[in-house]
Symmetry: C2
Subunit: 434 residues, 2 copies
């Protein structure tokens, strides 16, 4: 078999990783695949900066069409990220009968429908293992390993930047802003960290996984998203007192009728493996009717971990080319004819336990008043911490955990409580996931 | 496409799980695969016991040849376990051009060579995801996701029975014998638990993974194996004092020249995700040059978890049949021509940190004498616990952790120490894995 020819669009962090892996690990790839994989063209706007990776002369170009229209290229690897021009490039590659490998969760979350249906028409493969969880083989596992399983929930820590910040806040007791700055200096957070810390990146990823798990398109804009910028060290300390850790979770649950999909900070019991996944690590849990739970933990970002997932997809497509297999595994996990629209649950109807941190004037009767309002809204209290000394002159924290309650009842109660004159700051709410 | 026809040999716990899954989850499998999978023949010595699973008339037989010789059967699923007659049946299935799916780690560890080479000759697939880690997709991940990666180590908790016992000893402070009896009553341990608690089952599994990770045959009998029956609650308590948990680990490391493969109890820092994998759960970590570490956690045994892995393999083979793919992924992960004999490291040359628990007479000078012997053998002490009060009339425990030391030096030192008249019991040694 002749070698498999790859063209790259985007020569940034992951692109360099992919080229480096295909060079440095050429022998082991060949030992397993039985043929070699060669990058014959790389397109990037910047073709002058030295990236520390050697490429042959004539390989680099600033014109993406030289990749997209190249007659010898079998697989186009799209690594520029974002919606455009990634969408245009990818669609053109597919139209030109190239297989596509992408790490672009934003593109898949927003334009998945269009992408998958054109790939089906052109009879080419779309690999996207690298789009969620970096080196964690979650997409392959859902599509191939858990193929007999009725998935009931996927939950995970899907953003390394946010997890790094929460872990550091937890370890060192430093505030969000201080830790964010440190993460930026270390290269763990971007100059504009909005996508990571506000949960948007996690929402893109849970949209991709929801589609695969249940066989339904998801409108990305319908996903409830809340980031971690409101989390204080006090919340982390209180979580610890209750035996919990705070993590930014992406959640997707299916009860057979509707899907509950959301991204927000959540308290996890510290006895759970996921509570102990710290730093830049990601973790993704799949629950279903057959195996209860399966948790996959690994590096969710970075040049080589994400690059290794990209190369895994390239090799998978190469194997299909070599063995003559067409459409072996449907790209959306379900056969196209079995994709159906499953409705999303209204966030107001979600039920769960809640951690609430009030900031109240240190006067008698305040707890009684607050618990009265909660009771009126059918919310009962599981436990209370009042002893934390943290008076900033304008009050003291009052922290409690509720029993199971409805989101809409919690929101209605908080509206009343936040309006009390004895409550000096907006109440912080963190959902509990057991 | 016509439906895929499966024949089962072995209608025990996992066999029932497989049949139940193919019946109850028929629709979701069909939605993903695009065709149905039917079990048309089941062979078992016992065809009278009601297993709570409905099978059609004429499906059950006590003659395995009715499965092996059946002209319509595409895939033979072997679930009887053990070396024989599993080996004979599997080889006959392969000779008859049937694809094979098996959960039999003992067979693969002992007769892997023979099995894989006859499958290659007959041009059929061998699926064995269910042989290691139950529902954990470790085999598929090594063969497909980590295909560009130079694997450096695989380490894991691969036996649920042993992990259940150690977890219960840790939680409740009960002794090994008490917890084993409880595990047997609950069905988590077999009447004869030797394979599980003495590490043999874990050794079978690490033999299977070693072959896949590095592309080498492993002689199962060369693997160093030590079980958990010597672990006391005192060791678990001491581990806790040092910030560790004791787990039965299966370990396989490759430094590019030789492989270090072994099974024994090990101390893991409690901050590591694997230290918090408790009860019957399994966890398998893969370390390599690209993604650092990836940990997969899930149910390593049981009718439905293991059954789901078997059905995953059946579907994979069905997909290859439907798409016309032959030998898409080499069964041993490496191309047959790239399988080479990599030598095993001598256990005496292994280096690491050690936990040592001595039982000594409570007299002055004993610690000094013991540390003197250790020093003579080039072993330096990291920390000591002497304050545990547990005098049984014949002495007190003296517990210490060493810095990096060579196994042969440790063994030589322990020989001298065990011969001291102030040492009243054989010293317990637990290796530390960070």
């Amino acid at each position: 078999m002749k070698s498999v020819k790859v063209g790259l669009i985007g020569f940034g962090t992951i692109g360099c990783g992919v080229v480096k892996i295909l060079q440095d690990n050429q022998k082991i790839i060949n030992d397993r695949l039985g043929t070699s994989v060669d990058v014959i063209k790389i397109a990037d706007l910047d073709i002058t900066t030295d990236r520390g990776v050697k490429v042959g002369s004539g390989v680099l170009t600033d014109n993406a069409d030289e990749v997209l229209d190249h007659p010898d290229i079998d697989i186009v690897v799209e690594l520029i990220g974002g919606y455009e021009p990634a969408r245009t490039f990818t669609l053109k590659a597919i139209k030109n009968k190239k297989h596509v490998v992408t790490a672009n969760k934003a593109l898949l979350a927003k334009h998945g429908e269009e992408l998958f249906s054109s790939a089906a028409k052109s009879n080419v493969s779309v690999g996207f293992e690298a789009s969620v969880g970096g080196a964690i083989p979650i997409i392959r596992s859902i599509k191939e390993a858990f193929v007999a399983n009725r998935i009931q929930a996927i939950e995970g820590i899907m953003n390394g930047t946010a997890n790094y910040i929460l872990s550091k806040m937890s370890d060192g007791g430093h505030d969000f802003d201080v830790v964010l700055k440190e993460a930026q200096e270390k290269g763990y957070a971007e100059a504009d960290p909005t996508f990571d810390i506000e949960g948007i990146d996690s929402a893109h990823k849970i949209a991709v996984l929801t589609r695969l798990a249940y066989g339904t398109p998801v409108d990305f804009d319908d996903i409830y998203v809340q980031g971690i910028s409101d989390i204080s060290t006090l919340d982390i300390k209180c979580a610890h007192e209750f035996g919990y850790r705070i993590k930014l979770l992406a959640i997707s649950k299916f009860d057979g009728k509707a899907i509950d999909v959301r991204v927000h900070p959540a308290m996890i019991p510290e006895s759970k493996p996921m509570a102990n996944v710290n730093g830049v690590l990601n973790a993704i849990m799949v629950c279903d009717d057959l195996m209860e739970e399966n948790v996959l933990v690994g590096h969710g970002a970075g040049s080589l971990p994400t690059g290794s997932a990209v190369v895994g997809d390239v090799v998978e497509i190469a194997r299909n080319m070599i063995s003559g297999a067409q459409n072996r595994v449907p790209p959306q996990s379900f056969q196209q004819s079995n994709i159906k629209n499953i409705p999303l649950k209204d966030m107001a109807e979600i039920e769960g336990e809640y951690f609430l941190r009030f900031w109240v004037l240190d006067k008698p009767g305040v707890l009684s008043q607050i618990s009265g309002i909660l009771g009126n809204h059918d919310i009962s209290i599981e436990s209370v911490i009042q002893r934390i000394k943290d008076d900033n002159g304008q009050g003291v924290p009052l922290v409690l955990m509720t029993h199971d309650a409805k989101e809409k009842n919690i929101q209605a109660a908080l509206k009343e409580i936040n309006a009390m004159k004895e409550v000096s700051e907006k109440t912080v709410l963190i959902r509990v996931e057991k």
